[in-house]
C-alpha cells in the first residue's frame, strides 16, 4: 500500500496539495461523455468499431480509462435495454389487475434508481416502493387511457438515451406530480 509509505511525507505537504486543481469528474467518466457525444453527433456511426489505442491517443489519456469508459457505456446500454423491456411489460399489462400493473411500474423506477450505480441511493429509495404499493393498494391513479402509462415511461427512457438531463428531470417530476393529482380512492 503506497499510502502507508507516503503517509509522513503526505502530511507535511498537505497544504501544498490543497492547491492542486480539483478534478471533479474522473477521467473514465469524462472519456465516456466524449464517446457518448461522438455517438450522438455521428462521429461513431452505428456498428462502427471503437479502437482503444486510437481513442487513447486522440484523447491524450492512457488505455485504462478508455477501457473503463467502455465498461460504463456497456453498463448504460444494458440498463437502458432493461428499462425498455420493463416498458414493454407495462404495455402488455395495461389490461391486467391494477396491483400487477403497480408492481411492474415500480420495477421500472427501482431499475432506474439502481442504474445510477449508487448503492446508497438504491438503499434509501427502497422503503418508498413498499409505501407506494401500500398507497396504491387502496387508491388508483386514474388514467383516461392506461396506455398513457406506457408513453410516459417510454419518454423517460428516450430522454435518458438522448442524455438530455433537463428533459429527464422534467419528465420524471411531471410523472410524479401527475400521479399525485390523478390519485383516486
Amino acid at each position: 500500500m503506497p499510502g502507508d509509505v507516503d503517509d509522513a511525507a503526505g502530511r507535511s505537504s498537505a497544504s501544498a496539495r490543497r492547491l492542486a486543481p480539483l478534478r471533479i469528474e474522473s477521467t473514465p467518466s469524462l472519456v465516456a461523455d466524449r464517446i457518448r457525444m461522438g455517438i450522438f453527433d455521428g462521429t461513431f456511426p452505428p456498428d462502427s468499431q471503437l479502437n482503444e489505442v486510437e481513442l487513447a491517443r486522440s484523447l491524450g489519456v492512457s488505455r485504462g480509462p478508455i477501457r473503463e469508459a467502455f465498461q460504463r457505456l456497456m453498463q448504460d446500454a444494458a440498463a437502458i435495454s432493461g428499462l425498455e423491456q420493463i416498458v414493454s411489460a407495462i404495455g402488455r399489462s395495461v389490461d391486467s389487475e391494477w396491483s400487477e400493473l403497480v408492481a411492474i411500474d415500480l420495477e421500472f423506477h427501482r431499475s432506474l434508481v439502481a442504474a445510477s450505480g449508487s448503492s446508497r441511493l438504491t438503499r434509501a429509495f427502497e422503503p418508498m416502493y413498499a409505501e407506494t404499493r401500500m398507497l396504491l393498494a387502496h387508491m388508483e391513479i386514474h388514467y383516461e387511457r392506461r396506455a398513457d402509462l406506457v408513453d410516459e415511461h417510454r419518454a423517460i427512457v428516450e430522454a435518458i438515451q438522448a442524455g438530455d438531463r433537463k428533459l429527464i428531470e422534467r419528465l420524471v417530476h411531471g410523472h410524479m406530480s401527475d400521479s399525485v393529482t390523478k390519485l383516486v380512492r
Binding site: M1, P2, G3, D4, D6, D7, A9, G10, R11, A14, R17, R18, A20, L22, R23, I24, S116, S118, S119, R120, L121, R123, A124, F125, P127, M128, E131
Partner: protein, 229 residues
C-alpha cells in the same frame, strides 16, 4: 445525534432511551472518534462484559450500526468496523447531492422564514466553530445540512438523509486537512444559503452538487486513503 440538548434549552429534553439505543449511541461515538479503527472486530461477548449488560441489547445495537453503514457483518466471521474506500466516499456524496439537491430546490421555492433564520444561525455557529476541535466543526456542518433537508418539509427526504449521516461523519473525519482554516467551507455554505434566501432553486441545487463534488474530490487525494483497501 441523539442526546445533544439544543443551546436554548438548558436541561435538554428528558427522554428514556432503550438499552440498545444507549449502547448504539456509545458504540457509534467510539467508531466516529476512531477508537475502534477500520477493519477491527467487535466482539458481542466482550462488549457485553465491559458494559455489564446481556448480549441481546449489544447484538441489537450492533445491528443498528450495521444498518447505518458503520459496521459490517461477515458470515461466520463476525462484525467489523467498516473502512470506507474511495468508491464509498464518492457514493456517499453522490447520494447526498441528489437528496440535498432536491431538498434545496424545494426550500428555494418556498423560502420558509423560520427555517431561513435557523440556517443562518447554524451557519454562524459553523463559522464560529472553525479553528476549534474538528469534531465540533463536523457536528455544526452536519446540523446545517440536516436543517436544510428538514426545511423541505418532506419526512421521506429527511429519512433518506438520515441514513447517510453516520457515513458522512466518517468521511468528514478525513477532510480535516482540507478545511483547516475554514474559509472555503464557510464560503460554500454561505453560497448555498444565499441561493436559498434569494429563491433560486436551480442555483441552490447546483451549488449543493458542487459542494458535494468538491468534498468527494478532496477525499480522493491519494494520501488520505490510508484507511481504505
Amino acid at each position: 445525534m441523539t442526546g445533544t440538548a439544543s443551546p436554548g434549552d438548558p436541561l435538554g429534553p428528558l427522554r428514556a432511551q432503550s438499552t440498545p439505543a444507549l449502547i448504539a449511541d456509545l458504540l457509534r461515538a467510539e467508531v466516529l472518534v476512531g477508537a475502534f479503527p477500520p477493519h477491527s472486530q467487535l466482539s458481542e461477548a466482550h462488549l457485553a462484559r465491559q458494559l455489564q449488560v446481556s448480549r441481546g441489547p449489544v447484538r441489537e445495537a450492533m445491528q443498528r450500526l450495521i444498518q447505518e453503514g458503520l459496521l459490517r457483518s461477515e458470515r461466520n466471521r463476525g462484525v467489523f468496523v467498516v473502512a470506507l474506500g474511495h468508491d464509498d466516499a464518492r457514493d456517499v456524496y453522490l447520494a447526498r447531492g441528489v437528496i440535498e439537491g432536491a431538498a434545496a430546490a424545494i426550500v428555494a421555492r418556498q423560502v420558509p422564514p423560520v427555517a431561513m433564520l435557523q440556517l443562518q444561525r447554524l451557519l454562524d455557529q459553523l463559522a464560529a466553530s472553525t479553528g476549534g476541535p474538528w469534531t465540533e466543526v463536523i457536528t455544526h456542518d452536519l446540523a446545517f445540512h440536516q436543517a436544510l433537508v428538514d426545511a423541505a418539509g418532506s419526512l421521506r427526504l429527511s429519512r433518506m438523509f438520515h441514513t447517510l449521516v453516520a457515513e458522512t461523519r466518517l468521511c468528514l473525519l478525513r477532510l480535516e486537512p482540507f478545511y483547516r482554516d475554514g474559509t472555503e467551507v464557510i464560503a460554500e455554505h454561505r453560497g448555498i444559503l444565499d441561493a436559498l434566501e434569494s429563491g433560486r432553486p436551480a442555483t441552490a441545487e447546483r451549488l449543493i452538487r458542487l459542494h458535494m463534488d468538491a468534498a468527494a474530490a478532496r477525499l480522493a487525494v491519494p494520501e488520505r486513503v490510508t484507511l481504505s483497501d
